[in-house]
Amino acid sequence: MIIEIALLCGLVLFSAAAIVFRDLLKAAICLAVASLLLGIIFFRMKAPYIGAFEISVVAGLITVLFITTIALTKTGGDVRESKAASWIFPLFFIVFLVLDFFVMRGLMGKIPALEATPEQGTFGEVLWKMRTFDLVGQIGIIFAGVLAVLALFRKRDKDE
């Protein structure tokens, strides 16, 4: 359990670092490290498929997309953030953590234990037989994303 708590603390710290860093490249890399830690947490929860998905897609592909965007918009990266926002963040975050701790501790005895019904079969069977329509939705979403990117980078016709 100690390893899990350390991994969760690392996840929150790297996510906070991604927000605090002014340099966008450092922020994107912190986000990738946070995804990597989340993937390891998923592996330790005995969820290897989503762990592999998280590491390959979120830590890999999305970071590449972020870094490409940062490279393409290099000169525009010097947006002046308000100084108060970065000063206040640690204060707000500590207050939130204290509240979070007390709320969760208060809920500990009150929420009844979750009903645990061990499931049968494999991940493939669950995905193909129980969640078939999710796959249809996923295909639709991927097509929508591809078409949206194509529409956004469309070249102008000569007569326009």
Partner: protein, 102 residues
């Protein structure tokens, strides 16, 4: 098992808080999107942790895979919009978008 679930929920709430703070206080478009990514990490942690606590990890994984596919699609579209906005206004400042042009 309930206390483990609450522990994961506490950390997931922390991630959602960090993302919401970023969305409310930052001005850089890429930074705002990093905030959305942090929120989505909290949500996927909550999904898988609930499945883990209920011993329904396979369904939770199937849901989280769907969530990640949607996330990738949204990221690709939003980053394309950010690049187009940068070409249009020459800046990544979100305040530049408040000015309407006729």
């Amino acid at each position: 098992m309930s206390s483990t679930w609450l522990l994961y929920m506490a950390f997931a709430a922390g991630l959602v808080f960090i993302g919401l703070y970023c969305l409310l206080s930052m001005r850089n478009l890429v930074k705002l999107f990093i905030g959305i990514e942090v929120i989505s990490k909290g949500v996927s942690l909550a999904l898988v942790a609930t499945g883990f606590a209920k011993k329904n990890i396979l369904v939770a994984q199937a849901l989280a895979v769907t969530f990640i596919v949607i996330e990738v699609s949204v990221v690709a579209t939003a980053l394309a919009i950010i690049i187009n906005t940068y070409r249009h206004t020459g800046s990544l400042d979100v305040r530049r978008l408040t000015k309407l042009k006729g």
